[in-house]
Symmetry: C2
Subunit: 179 residues, 2 copies
């Protein structure tokens, strides 16, 4: 009893739509065997993979990133607890980073913008993440953090986006320079 599951079974159990499952397969995130009819048949362990995908999206990874992570799993055998635990650890670190950034942002919010001193040259915020990696259009949100210097312009002196990118901290109180 290998007990392979149909796509609608998997969909019901995981809560992920069939169309999404096909999409994930197309993207190489999950795999299926085929019945003689051409219909998909999934081994049970695919549920774990799907759970991980759903989970990863909630913590803010893109499907491409999820694919990279899942690519580190063994392909010759069914991944076991320690395989998954390894990924979990890595993701935990990312969640920690994001939490830290949000805490910094909150600090800037109440302590800097909130107080009225958004002088852009006096008041500085957030974190030093690797920005300026992507190009082109699109939304680009990662963990609620834009993937690229939000509508980036300018390559001269200091401005808000650059400060958000470089992760400076608010300096002392403030002096209400700009409006």
């Amino acid at each position: 009893m290998d007990s392979l599951l149909t796509i609608s079974e998997i969909s019901r159990r995981s809560g992920v739509a069939s169309s999404a499952l096909r999409f994930y397969e197309e993207r190489g995130l999950i795999h299926s065997q085929r019945a003689g009819s051409g219909h998909r048949r999934y081994p049970r362990d695919v549920l774990r993979r799907i759970a991980f995908i759903v989970f990863a999206q909630r913590i803010g990874l893109t499907l491409e990133e999820v694919g990279e992570e899942l690519g580190r799993l063994p392909t010759r055998r069914v991944p076991d607890g320690s395989d998954w635990a390894e990924i979990s650890t890595r993701w935990s670190l990312r969640v920690d980073e994001r939490i830290a950034e949000l805490q910094r942002l909150r600090g800037g919010l109440t302590g800097c913008i909130g107080c009225g001193c958004l002088s852009l040259s006096k008041c500085e915020l957030v974190n030093p993440n690797d920005r300026a990696r992507l190009k082109g259009a699109g939304p680009y949100v990662w963990n609620g953090e834009p993937r690229r210097p939000v509508a980036a312009a300018a390559t001269g002196s200091e401005n808000l986006v650059q400060m958000l990118a470089q992760g400076k901290q608010p300096q002392k109180a403030c002096g209400k320079t700009d409006a």
Copy 2:
């Protein structure tokens, strides 16, 4: 000396591309006067609004939400420190919520998925946020959290997406039920 600024001045100082500034204006997030030539002229306090928009995006609000928040600002006078402080306070609360959710997710990650017990009916995760609000296609990310039950399917019994939605906590250790 009212000192109105051109769009490229604003772009340089804020780090936001001119095209994005026009887009924000079209969306009603910022406003401009026009010079005789038809060119945009911005009063200085628009920089503060832009900073807020950039900031809000980093904490994960959509432009529509930003618009609602900015809509609460006084329109008859230039918003002052206390006006901004009020918004800041509200946003702080949202940031706190998101931090709390990420902490829950991290707990589920190491304690639940990581340990190997993703049995879907034994192991449950995350938070009780208002899901199932949007319909249709698209990415839908809010704070790195999907705006809708990630590719939602199923309306029957328990599944992962529903649990992520209902915010149950992992039960004790685990019993490795599903693969």
